[in-house]
């Protein structure tokens, strides 16, 4: 089973790498943020698989933090975009 876990983790990592193409192409900032969301979900799965394969339960906590931080990153992004949009308009 361990080998299968590691193989699947590598496959998911490949998914993330292919997702980088979307960040490269864009075209909008929101598209790039969607790719960041892919990183969040897939990263959680990779960490859970590694925790099982290597018998390192601490990695599950890392996965929890990952899921929580993904939201914070997005909130920061939305705030930045919103404040930039506000600057252009008169209130």
């Amino acid at each position: 089973m361990e080998r299968l876990y590691l193989a699947l983790a590598a496959f998911l990592l490949l998914n993330i790498a292919v997702g980088l193409i979307r960040i490269l192409r864009g075209p909008t900032a929101a598209d790039r943020m969607v790719a960041a969301q892919l990183f969040g979900t897939t990263g959680v799965a990779v960490l859970l698989l590694l925790a099982q394969a290597q018998a390192m339960p601490a990695l599950r906590d890392v996965a929890l933090v990952f899921a929580a931080l993904a939201v914070l990153a997005t909130v920061a992004f939305v705030k930045r975009v919103a404040s930039r949009a506000d600057e252009g308009e008169s209130p």
Binding site: L8, A30, D31, Q37, A67, A70
Partner: protein, 105 residues
């Protein structure tokens, strides 16, 4: 290989398939909203399959519960993220994709 392992392998394969579908959707769909729609739903389903496979292999009830909790948090996080991104894109006038640009209507 016992039945539980076999079930886990099947669930992991299903999870891998859905993750692949999410990535293909991210690359192939035409605009940010459709990409969002593909990624948010499909990836969380893939994560659900992976979590279910790991729950079958869990040593204790607490471990299984924690895995389920992580999936729940990931679901809530993903729903929040997708709303925030799509809303900010719409507010910033990113046009939704249409089959015929500037068609009748």
């Amino acid at each position: 290989m016992n039945v539980r392992d076999l079930l886990s392998v099947m669930l992991l394969s299903a999870g891998a398939f859905f993750f692949l579908a999410g990535t293909v959707g991210l690359l192939r769909f035409p605009d940010v909203y459709t990409r969002q729609h593909a990624l948010t739903k499909v990836d969380n389903l893939g994560l659900g399959f992976v979590v279910l496979a790991l729950v079958l292999q869990a040593n204790s009830a607490a471990e299984a519960l924690k895995l389920a909790l992580i999936w729940g948090l990931a679901l809530a996080a993903s729903a929040t993220i997708s709303y925030l991104i799509a809303h900010s894109a719409f507010e910033n006038d990113v046009p939704p994709w249409q089959r015929t640009p500037r068609g009748p209507q």
